[in-house]
Amino acid sequence: MFKVIERKSIVPNLHLLVVHAPDVVETIQPGQFVIIHAGEGSERIPLTAADWDREEGTLSIVFMEVGTSTGKLAMLQPGDEIQTVVGPLGVPIEIEKFGVVVCIGGCFGMGSIYPVVRALKEKGNEVITMLEGRSKNLLYWEEKLSKYSDKVIMLTRDGSYGYKGHVKKGVEILREQGIKPDRVIANGCTTLSYLATRDYAHYDIPVIVTLNTIMIDGTGMCGVCRCTVDGKMKFACVDGPSFDGRLVDWDELAARRKQYISEEAFLVHHSGCGGF
């Protein structure tokens, strides 16, 4: 059992979960994920690490409340126990001295990009962090990220904070400021990852995206996380979850994300009252 240290809503629909998982954080690296299983009946959900403290043995995760199982996680209180926090899984993201690295975070990705930003800065890169949200009230961790970023650029689609615009606006800002990136790393939903790949394509540099596919075991056994990268079948759990977005078959990925949409919606609306 894994003890919950903290669980709070950080912005609407997104929660920070801090859990005691000393074995997991002993070896965890940026870009790796864990699978959380809240207990009997729940789904196994892959979630990328947002931070950790090896001394305390704690792992932090930012997750979005989207369905029944994440809804259960969103109810956790300090002192509660989670049946399964297993990992670290997946291949760590490549951290080298690349030069200028643009790190883009959206949604839960503003959390999961943090260990990447920190590691890149510690390797001596010039790190430009961009956080993207629909509106000001959906942005978080600006201060935390600024500690390891040479520059933090905030983007909102409604212009309520920072610059008005989406991923593409970030590209314009870089151009205006005369910054030429050597690598882009994007963490967030499939749309954000896709847009980063598309909008930075003209630089002809790697755009590393972290895919959030459906998974069950997370150890290469079930194959539900399969995707096509560079024309080959890859398993996001053991070959990824980070890939060069330029090589990803995005149409297929988007379709596969929707495999269980109708079942999930049914669950949310199914109260279990037995009524009709």
């Binding site: 789904e43 399964t84 056994m221 929707k258």
Partner: protein
Amino acid sequence: MATKKKLNLNRVDMPKQADFIRKRNFKEVALGYSVEDAVEEASRCLDCKKPICVDGCPVEIDIPGFIRAIANRDFSLAIKTLKERNCLPAVCGRVCPQEEQCEIKCILQKKGAPVAIGRLERFAAEWETKQDNVELPGIMKKTGKRVAVIGSGPAGITVAGDLILLGHDVTMYEALHEPGGVLTYGIPEFRLPSKVVTREIEYLQKLGVRLICNFVVGKTRSLQKILDEYDVVFVGTGAGLPWFMNIPGENLNGVYSANEYLTRVNLMRGFEYPKTYTPVVRHKKVAVVGGGNVAMDCARTALRLGAEESVVVYRRSEAELPAREEEYENAVEESVEFNFLTLPEKLIGDENGWLKEIECSRMELGEPDASGRRRPVRIDGSEFRMKMDACIIAIGNSPNPIIPQTTPDLDVSKWGTIEVDEDSLKTSIDRVWAGGDIVSGAATVILAMGAGRKAARSMHKYLSDTSL
């Protein structure tokens, strides 16, 4: 002993749920022998002086011994005899292919009616669970030696069961949230109820085996580090990456690996959805590609989830079908259809990325291939399409890659299986043994158990020879 015993060729049938009922529920198909059934069947055993049935058993159970005990109504002795050699009688009595192991060797097999060894094994195990006090076997004096078993499937369970009885301290690691490996995530409830597996694992725990779930050796901690904490390690990490056919359309929605389909339904208990939250799409027309037991399990699971049509697509003919005869018969009775000599060529989707049709070719059998079976050859111009909304690919899997990938000095074959010494099952790393599917590639529960037994013997010898 009765040398002049009259041959009785009336093998006692085991009652089953009626096909039209069972194909819509997940309860166990076979219902097991009653006491009278078991005694009657056991009495057919000739109690041969040289029991060759035992040669057919990978774990060398004293088969005439336990059957004699049943015939004499000493059921407690029967289960004790079984457990001397087999820590999983309730599992093996259900899923072992007895017809090609022990029963095929039975003298009565020549007359067409071998003693139903598997059913009797299952009976003895079931009898025990109905008793108030399960007798624990004696455990040898504690040696203080520490054993780590990686993976809690059939191979790992056998190693753990054997070594705990010999007095060693055993810790078993499991990556998933529930132990049992393929017994838990793979074999369906209607063939092997999860409570049977739970019971067998609890028995090991009662004997003193420590179980750690949610721990992926190779990821959470390296094998090398585990080795620092233990005297010896057994790697029984089993199956991994599912194979696909490498044809267009395999990533369409509605296309599953058998592992995914069965794991959703079994481990995650998707058949109880929406009471449980892991969704399983209830497809109406399901094709299953492959011809083994796993393919039968998938096709029969699909029916139970409400499919109107469940079709097995196999590229060879009925004669080559690798599934157990019993499972094939069960599938046919439950109205699973079989498309033999058929090869899927292309999976075709709709505009939203969901499977809608499968294009197949007809095959004919040519010359025997490396496996000794006649090679299926495509008949040109025989293409046809089947309208399907799901396709489950059950053509096997490669070994689990995590330990080979994360353990630098471990010798691995080009197929990803761990290389071991044939007799001892020792790997290229000192103090590390391996067995089961991770060594052999996909095989059966009992073969994995046989490997576990072999490794345990060698590990025990090593532990006894070395004073650490």
